[in-house]
């Protein structure tokens, strides 16, 4: 039972990592897309995602299963970003997609953590990736002139079709406690800070809905 749950989580994570790794590899390979000043950042993110892919593949293989095959991706999101093809003039869209993918990754891993509660090795590995995705997300958000943390349920300037990535991020009830109602909360940012201070999970179904448009 746990073995099949773990495998489902690992295969799901692998799909997300395939998407990210492919996206950054294509970005780095596209002449004139990423400005010189930003290549160090995207170089390290691309490296990380490629390592996540190979690590997840070997965890799946070790567990006796076959890693899913890397699908083909459509970075126009089935036409929602018409004409996007890693062209030199499209860096703003590349950055926007990077923010969308990283913020999705954080919520996706978070949503699966409790399903690994009985598989400590998989849990440790997944969490060690989860927080790195959060580091990536903060960096990309800040490069776009945004806060490194999610504000309310705001997608910032991302297109409307990405709203599912941020829905529910404005939750401020944690462990049954209303954080803005805590004694000190009003003096320390109130409901706005309470929403920022906790990232929210997404279910497997919610993440699938978010990434399906990117599957060719």
């Amino acid at each position: 039972m746990q073995a099949s749950t773990t495998l489902e989580v690992l295969q799901f994570a692998l799909l997300l990592e395939y998407l990210e790794a492919d996206f950054y590899a294509r970005g780095l390979g596209a002449a004139g897309l990423i400005p010189a000043a930003d290549r160090a950042v995207f170089g390290v993110i691309a490296d990380h995602e490629a390592i996540h892919v190979s690590t997840l593949r070997s965890l799946i293989t070790t567990a006796g299963a076959t890693p899913i095959v890397r699908p083909a991706f459509d970075y126009t999101a089935r036409g929602a970003l018409p004409g996007f093809n890693f062209l030199p003039s499209q860096y703003a869209t590349f950055l926007a997609l990077a923010m969308a993918f990283e913020d999705t990754g954080v919520r996706a891993y978070k949503g699966q953590a409790a399903r690994l509660i009985n598989d400590k090795a998989a849990l440790s590995a997944a969490l060690s990736i989860h927080s790195v995705e959060a580091r990536h997300a903060a960096q990309v958000r800040r490069m776009r002139g945004r806060k490194g943390w999610v504000v309310g349920n705001s997608r910032e300037d991302l297109p409307a079709f990405t709203q599912g990535i941020y829905d529910g991020e404005d939750n401020t009830v944690q462990g049954g406690v209303s954080v803005p109602s805590l004694p000190m909360a009003a003096m320390f940012g109130g409901a706005a800070a309470a929403a920022e201070a906790f990232d929210e999970p997404l279910t497997l179904a919610q993440v699938t809905a978010i990434i399906t448009p990117f599957l060719a």
Binding site: V41, A125, Q139, G148, G189
Partner: protein
């Protein structure tokens, strides 16, 4: 000596970081040297005379892991108290610290987030299981931008590794998810702080995997900033390492 590997230590806070200590031990093993910059000695002079009590010299504070998830919440509460107190001090010392307006805005956000984490754990634990720590910051200068940022980096990275490592001892799925909600925000903080130290470099995420530290490793690092004598009773005997295999 010029061909020996050298570790430059300009900030006393670095000495309490596990990475720096490991780096020092590695260097000593190969005949390397550690260089202490004047900035660090200046910072240490704050400890002379009538200063705050030294770390670990106060009353004992025991977190008993036999208590299960309560102990994990207490452990997290201790770390969040430390972080919240740190950023409150940073914000209160803005006038002389040389942080830019943008950096100050980040510090206010971090202060608010950490205070709210602290207050949530305080409420969850109640008076019966709560406690109040007395943080102390040997080697940290709150009037020095880089000292503040380096200390913040240490706290945030430690927080990430602490939650990542404590998660395996949580038995309630909701509590595990709650830890996940907090740890990614700590990682976002760590990323931002690291980017302030080395903008647009690879520094925001130094590894493909974050560290996963066992509670005793976290406690000994945190002890460097806590006056009370922190003890983990009935600490877990088994620990499942993360991919970095360094916890």
């Amino acid at each position: 000596m010029s061909d020996r590997p050298t570790l430059v230590i300009g900030d006393g806070g670095l000495l309490t970081s596990l990475r720096t200590r490991r780096e020092m031990l590695r260097l000593m093993a190969v005949g390397g040297v550690a260089v202490f910059l004047p900035s660090m000695l200046t910072a240490c002079s704050d400890d002379n005379g009538v200063g705050p009590a030294a770390p670990g010299t106060g009353a004992p504070l025991t977190i008993d892991f036999a208590r299960g998830d309560i102990a994990i919440l207490q452990f997290a509460y201790a770390l969040e108290q430390l972080e919240a107190d740190f950023y409150i001090r940073v914000v209160n010392a803005f006038s002389g610290a040389g942080l830019s307006a943008a950096e100050q805005a980040i510090m206010v956000d971090l202060r608010n987030h950490e205070v709210l984490h602290r207050e949530l754990f305080k409420a969850a634990l109640g008076t019966a299981n709560g406690f109040t720590l007395t943080p102390t910051y040997p080697g940290v200068s709150f009037s020095n931008r880089l000292s503040i940022l380096q200390a913040a980096r240490g706290f945030e990275d430690l927080g990430v590794a602490a939650y990542n490592g404590a998660a395996q001892y949580i038995s309630d799925p909701g509590t595990l998810t709650l830890a996940g909600k907090i740890v990614s925000v700590e990682a976002r903080h760590a990323s931002a702080i690291r980017d302030l130290i080395a903008p647009n470099s690879t520094g925001f995420a130094p590894n493909a995997f974050d560290d996963v530290f066992r509670p005793s490793v976290v406690a000994s690092a945190a002890q460097g900033f806590i006056t009370e004598r922190l003890t983990l009773a009935n600490g877990p005997s088994t620990f499942v390492q993360g991919p970095n295999n360094n916890g």
